[in-house]
Structures are given as structure tokens and as C-alpha cells.
Symmetry: C2
Subunit: 501 residues, 2 copies
């Protein structure tokens, strides 16, 4: 049976290699590809994604799985090996239902829709994107139908990003969070303590920002011999193991945007750089779920990056690198500005409190699109209405409204909930970190960030995919997953910052 197991793993490795190539094609498209190369790229992506799919549903995999699972020696496999077998089986059984040419077409349409989205966003004109988005919704419906025609299509897509998640489960976690957050936002906005937002609008030349962001990666002990930082319209992370790539975007009059995006993506990147601890090219040596990925990125970005402790430590370096620009700014004012509470248009720029409301509305739109309760063509109007309702924000145009996110253009639906799930996981993991390293904040203040990062790497990253996400978080923290910790974390943090009673 050893032979069959090894053969199964080598088939898995081959599929992973094809996926790595696929990731490079996407990275290159967004970072380095000549402008007019996109039609050729669409063909390449269609080919390679279809191939990746074929590798995953290779009939040989089924044969091997049967002969392994039914073998009398099966029980002699280690826990890790059994998990590998289980994960390959789960993926196989899911993906075998999806025809390869459908996967190729879906990917190709993704490149075309992404191109249209870029143009639409630039011109702030949803009508350019609308027909392509309509196709992408149809592709998603079809995809969900292939995977499981018997349940709510949106549940199928959520489960694809986050194994065993459902709308119901998500709503149960998110409803109390929504309520708490809405109240907290009101209190913060009503407080006499308010950040000096003009700090964030000071001009910081791009070359200084680039130095700042590279320095940040060093501070985060982020391995630049196995990674790189580039610039894209929409920040993202891709790659695995020894070749992981992150991107950010720079605005002259909003330095915090690049800084926080870099920290967010470095969280994703660091996960990929360490997730292979149990063995690269094995299912257990890959990311657990999109929710856990977002737990890593949101933990780096918010729990570390927006903490008092981090800025107490980094303040001096920050001032050194930015020269005269913030010479008159006090540490307290900077911390409050970094933690501004402000209903605003753009999700990726949103503060920790309003952020989850951006997710909740996307969750609702996706759910309703998939279930044909709303139409693509009505999205801009619905979007603006919902922004007003939930956040009290008046959307000025499509670019800062319905066109802001890249995800739908690439066919990604059911992913958005994982951001909030990541916040929930992260806060619960913080609770455990606080137990094990009670002086964690003072460690950071004194520059021992690596101690905290190493704890996180050991307890989260390096666990790979030995458990499903909810079980993983329960294992780390000894508690069932709940949004209570996130609510508590936000209450304590913002009450202190805004002097709430």
C-alpha cells in the first residue's frame, strides 16, 4: 500500500505544480504583462486551469484511493497520511463532478471579465462590466449546480471556500457581531474624542512609501528571499512555499492604505511561507481554508498592525523614514488616526469597526444574486442604497461603489464571508495568545515582534491543513468558534481609544 500512497501523493504534487504555474500566470497578468497581452493570457489561463482540474480528477486517483482505503494496512497509516488521503478524496469527489472544459471556459471568461472590470472601474461605468458580470454569475450558478444541485447554490460556493460553512452558520456568527458593531460605531462617532484625520492625508512621496513598506516587511521578519512586494490596482497574495508574492498599492495622500495593505498581504504571504512545515506538496502542507488565510492577514493587519503596542515600537522608525512629514505628530494622535472610525466607501481601506459591515452587504448581494432575487443590472442602485442604510455613506460613483472589488470579475463568489470569518478566528486566537504570552503587548513595544509572530506561525501557519478550520481554531483556543471574542476585543479596544463610558 506504501507504493499506492506514494503514487497518490505524486499525482497530488503534479496537480500542485500546475496550480503554481496557474498562479504565476495571474500574478504576471496583474504585475508585469504588457497591456495587450491579455488575449493570449486568456488562452493560457483557460488551458492551464483546465489542466489543473484534469489533474485533480485523474481517474487514477480514484483507483488509488479505493485500493488505499480498502487495504487491510490502511490503519497503519499515520494521522498525517490519513489526513492526506482524506483531503485528496474530498477534493476529488467534489471536483470530479465539474467538466474540465467548463473549468477552462470559466477561467477564460474570468480574464475577459477582469479586463472589462478594469476598464469599467477606470471610467467608473458599471455598464461596461455588466454583461461580463452577468456571465460570471451564470458561471457561478452552473459551477454550484455541478458541485451539488440539491442545496442552495450559495451554500455550495461558501462551502467551496470554507469547508462545512453555510449561510446559516455564518449568519449565526455574524448577527450579534453586526449589532455590536453598529452600536459601537455610533458611540465612537458621538464621542468627544476624535482622530485628527488630516494626519492620514498628508502627502507622502511614493518613493518614501516604498522604503517604508519594505522596512515594514523586515520588521515583520518577512522572508524576501522567498517572496517579493509589487504594486497592483488591487493588492493580493499568490504563490506558495519558496515563491510567494504579495502586492500593495500606493496613494500619495493616503500612506496608510499601502502600509495596511502590505501588512494584510504579508499576513497571507507569511502563512504560505510557513504552511508547508508538515511537508510541501502534501494536502496537509497547504492552506487550511480561505477563512484561516484571512485570519492570518487580518491578524497581521489589525490585531498587530493597528495595535497601540506596534505603533509604540514603530513610531520612531516611522518618523525617521518619513522625515519632516510627521515631525509634529504625537504618538497618541497617530494611533487614534490609524484607528479612525469612519463610514467610508472602500472595503479594503475600511477601519476595523466598519469593515465587517462591508462584508455583510456583499454576503447578502451574492446570496441574492445566486438565488435570482436580484439582478446584476440593478446592482449599482442596490449597492448605493445599502451603503446608505448600513453605513450612512453616500456613494459618489460606481468606481467607489459596486466596481471597487476585483473578486467578482474573477469569478470569485462565496469568498467574501471568509474575511469576517478571519476576523472572528483571529480575535479568538488572540485570546489564546494573551493566555500564553500575557505580556505580548509589552514584547511588541520592546521590539520582540518576532516572539509573537513565531507563536502565531507555530500555532496557526505550521498546522497546515491537519484539521478543518473550525476544528483548528477550537484546537488552538480550547473553545468553540464564536464571535464573542471579536465583539469583546472591539469593545475593549475602541472604548479605550475613544474614551467611551
Amino acid at each position: 500500500m506504501r507504493k499506492e500512497y506514494d503514487e497518490l501523493l505524486s499525482l497530488f504534487k503534479e496537480a500542485s505544480i500546475v496550480e503554481e504555474i496557474d498562479m504565476l500566470l495571474y500574478w504576471d497578468r496583474d504585475v508585469t504583462m504588457p497591456k495587450k497581452g491579455w488575449k493570449q493570457r486568456a488562452e493560457q489561463v483557460a488551458f492551464i486551469s483546465q489542466l489543473a482540474h484534469e489533474k485533480k480528477i485523474n481517474p487514477k486517483i480514484k483507483e488509488l484511493l479505493v485500493s488505499i482505503v480498502e487495504h487491510p494496512d490502511y490503519e497503519k497509516l499515520s494521522e498525517q497520511e490519513k489526513r492526506n488521503v482524506y483531503l485528496i478524496k474530498r477534493k476529488y469527489e467534489k471536483m470530479v463532478k465539474v467538466p474540465p472544459d467548463f473549468v477552462g471556459e470559466f477561467s477564460k471568461q474570468g480574464v475577459i471579465a477582469n479586463k472589462a472590470w478594469e476598464e469599467a472601474r477606470e471610467k467608473s461605468d458599471f455598464s461596461i462590466f455588466q454583461p461580463e458580470l452577468e456571465k460570471m454569475v451564470e458561471f457561478n450558478k452552473k459551477f454550484a449546480h455541478y458541485l451539488n444541485p440539491e442545496i442552495d447554490p450559495y451554500d455550495v460556493l461558501i462551502d467551496y471556500s470554507e469547508p462545512s460553512m453555510t449561510q446559516e452558520k455564518f449568519e449565526k456568527l455574524v448577527n450579534p457581531l453586526k449589532e455590536a458593531v453598529v452600536t459601537l460605531i455610533k458611540e465612537c462617532l458621538a464621542s468627544a474624542t476624535q482622530p485628527d484625520m488630516s494626519i492620514l492625508k498628508r502627502k507622502v512621496p511614493i518613493d518614501i512609501q516604498k522604503k517604508l513598506n519594505l522596512d515594514l516587511l523586515k520588521v515583520l521578519d518577512y522572508d524576501l528571499e522567498r517572496s517579493r512586494l509589487d504594486e497592483t490596482v488591487h493588492p493580493f497574495t499568490t504563490g506558495s512555499y519558496d515563491d510567494v508574492r504579495i502586492t500593495t498599492r500606493y496613494y500619495k495622500e493616503n500612506f496608510l492604505s499601502a502600509f495596511m495593505s502590505t501588512m494584510h498581504e504579508a499576513g497571507h504571504g507569511d502563512y504560505e511561507l510557513h504552511v508547508g512545515k508538515l511537508g510541501s506538496y502534501q494536502p496537509v502542507g497547504q492552506w487550511c481554508s480561505d477563512g484561516v488565510h484571512e485570519a492570518c492577514s487580518r491578524f497581521y493587519e489589525n490585531i498587530l498592525g493597528r495595535s497601540e503596542a506596534f505603533w509604540k515600537y514603530y513610531f520612531f522608525k516611522f518618523k525617521e523614514l518619513t522625515g519632516e512629514i510627521f515631525a509634529d505628530v504625537s504618538l497618541e494622535d497617530l494611533i487614534l488616526a490609524v484607528n479612525k472610525v469612519e463610514p467610508s466607501a472602500i472595503r479594503t481601506e475600511a477601519d476595523e469597526l466598519t469593515y465587517d459591515l462591508h462584508i455583510i452587504m456583499r454576503f447578502e448581494f451574492e446570496r441574492d444574486l445566486l438565488n435570482e432575487k436580484i439582478k446584476v443590472k440593478d446592482l449599482p442602485e442596490l449597492w448605493n442604497k445599502k451603503m446608505k442604510e448600513l453605513l450612512g455613506y453616500e456613494v459618489k460613483n460606481d468606481a467607489e461603489g459596486v466596481l471597487q472589488d476585483v473578486h467578482w470579475s474573477e469569478g470569485l463568489m462565496g469568498y467574501f464571508p471568509t474575511y469576517t470569518l478571519g476576523n472572528i478566528f483571529g480575535a479568538q486566537i488572540l485570546m489564546q495568545l494573551q493566555k500564553e504570552i500575557p505580556n505580548w503587548e509589552s514584547e511588541i513595544e520592546h521590539g520582540n515582534l518576532k516572539k509573537i509572530l513565531d507563536w502565531f506561525r507555530e500555532n496557526v501557519h505550521e498546522k497546515g491543513n491537519m484539521k478543518d478550520s473550525f476544528e483548528l481554531v477550537q484546537d488552538i483556543t480550547g473553545k468553540e468558534v464564536t464571535s464573542d471574542y471579536l465583539i469583546e476585543y472591539l469593545k475593549v479596544k475602541y472604548s479605550k481609544l475613544y474614551n467611551l463610558s
Copy 2:
């Protein structure tokens, strides 16, 4: 039969797409890949090159070929269609003899050997590269043996780069050239007229050089919406159609190096940008041979780029972009410096006269390695001896000796002769250009470079692969291929520049 033909072409397209992906993997390795990503890249390259090979020898191709060629309607195919069928058949019959796993292993070893070469070159220590090069020679021998075990293995490799070329044919072209060039070099070196070489050693900051090289591409009417210019250790061109990428390398105290490399690679790049005129993803819409590719690059670099006419036109812009650096330099002195004759170490930096001697020695080494007349371990010594003998140059270390070129590390043997072949083709094509546009030099002087480039594109690039290289050049020029035109061109040019009697 139309159905079979279309299916054949669609299989060809698929293979071409896989090759495009392969090219991106190499480009990324040299330009953007994180330092430690190379092991993963070796796996990816092994996989994709093996796949590309499998696509080329798909048994379905043979079936289709048979049913097309034997079909009563075969004669109704257009010339272009027949040529497509012929080229697919020729490639298939060649490649079907090579086992796919051999191709994968060969490519993988190429990435490993390239890594060793980089390190060896950096440390100027051949011993680091030696064991890997030994493997690469063995791979080449095996490759030649698979293709045709019955003839001289080096002839097999030459034919792979340049269909229907042989050592004998090459020697016949090259012997009179060698003789003429050796005499000319002596005469130039003995002349009272000598360039002021210090001009070329003036410091030009890299950022100014970058602007200069981008400007050069504009002057060359080079389409940067379908291409890009990057920086690598060894300049190269890759890609096709709407995504073609060229690289150069900058030295602070040798601006001419980057400038001429950019022009050389732009010649390659421009060929790829226009070669698809007859139809992309068809054999006839791809490069004809490596020799024709080098004819394009060497034509742009030398015949245009080192011409009096070009510098008469570009002198003003050049001075404008470089500011004070060359303020005191006259046009005549610059032209003479650009056309310096100087036996020197590095092939890619060599002048037009000494260049072919660098090629001839590589040709002889490859021939003798493949035929086991010399050993890899003796190469450094043999190299230095030959450099002394042929060029009178004393090699200082391995980095500027046997380690200078990237080709062998990537498994490319039999390619070098195509550079000189390119020079021969280029000079012969110039003869025709002079006939058709007698005032070509004055056109360039007056800034109508595009007129000359368009002639070249129409007569060379856009002909694609309708004919084999020797026939193509004969068609363009009405004469059999000979090195007489190159000899004449060099004699006229250098006699004038160096006031030879």
C-alpha cells in the same frame, strides 16, 4: 479534409500555448522570481516542457497528417496551408523520436545547471559549473542521438537550430569570412586613425541609461504596449505576438553595452511582434529559424545601430538625454568609438569585426565536445589558449572566459553558429535594401528610420516561416547565400572609418 486540417491546426495552437507558458516561466526566473524559488521552478519547467513535447508528438497529429496528405483534395490546399502541414510534419517526425521524460529531465537539469552557472560566474570559478556542464553535454549527446543516431551529433544539433545547416555548410561560409576579418582587424589596429575609447568609459548613471534605452525603443518604433524592457545578467528576448519581452543589462562605465544589447534584443523582439502576420498560432506565423532571428537582431544592432546614418540622426537626442556627460564629444569621435575595433573578452560586447571570431571558437568547442575530442574539465584552459590565438586577448579569469555565456547552462548547443549566420543573412539583405531604397542612409539621417524598419518588417519579419532560411534569403535578395556581402560590407565600412588604403 477541411475538418482534419482545422483540427491539426488547433493541436498546433495548443502546443504553442504550452510553449508560451514555458517561456514565461523562464522569463520570470531571470527577471522577477524570488531568489530561493528556483527549486520549485525547476519542477515547473520540467513539467511544462515535457508537456509541450507531448503536445508536439500527440499521436493524433500523425493520424491527421496521414489523412490530410493522402486525401485527394490535398492539392486544393493553399500554399500557406501546405507549408503549415509540412512544418508540423517535419517537427513531429523529429520530436517523436525523443521520449517525453527525457525532455522533462533535460529542462530540469537546465534550471539546476543555470543556477550553478550563475554562482560560478559570480565567483569566477569554473569548478562550480563543471559537473553541471558535463551533465548538459551528456544530455545534448543523448538528444542528438535520439534525433538521428546516424550522423555527426553536432550536425544534428545545428540542424535543430537551423534546418538543413551542417558543419560543412557553415565552414564553407565562414572560412573566407574568418580570413577577411583577421586581415581587416590587423589593418584597423595598425591604422593611424584610432577611436578615443575613453568616451565609452565615461560614467553614465543607470537612471539616465534607462531613459536612453526607453527612448531608443521609441525611436525604433518598438511597440511597448505589446512588449517590455527589463534588466538581467544576460540579455535575452522571449515571448510571441502580443506579449514579447526583451531585457538588457546596465554598466555604469559602459553605456554602450546596454544600448547595443537593447538594440539587439529589440531586433529579436520586433521579429516576434510582426512574425504572425500570416496568421498567429500557425507554423507559418512563427520564426523561420534561429539564424533569421539573429539576422534581425544583428541587423538592428549593427547595420542600423552602428551606422553613421543612425548616429547622425540620434546624436542630438543622445546628447540631450545624457546632459553634460558627452558635451565635448564630436559626432565623428562618437561614431568611431561606437565602431571601435578591439580584441576583447566578452562576445556580447564585441565589435562587429571581432564578433564572428568569438562565434567561430564556440562552434569549434561545441563540435569537439559533442565528438568527445575535448573534455569539459579542460575547457577553461582551451578557451584561454584559443582567445590568445584567435584574438590575441589574454583572458583574466573564468568569468570573462568560459563562463561568460548563458547558453550552455541552459543546454543550448548548436545555437552559436546562428549568430554569424545572422550576420551573413543580414549583410545580404542589406544589399537588397540598398537596391530598393538607394538613399536609405539619408532616410535614417533625416529621421525616417521607420521607412527602413517597415521595409525590413515587410520583407523579413512578415514572411514568417513560409520558406526555410536559406531559401528565404535567396528569395529576398535574388542571390544564393554567401558571406561575400558581409565581407564586402565590413571592408567598405571599416576602410572608411579607419582610413585604410
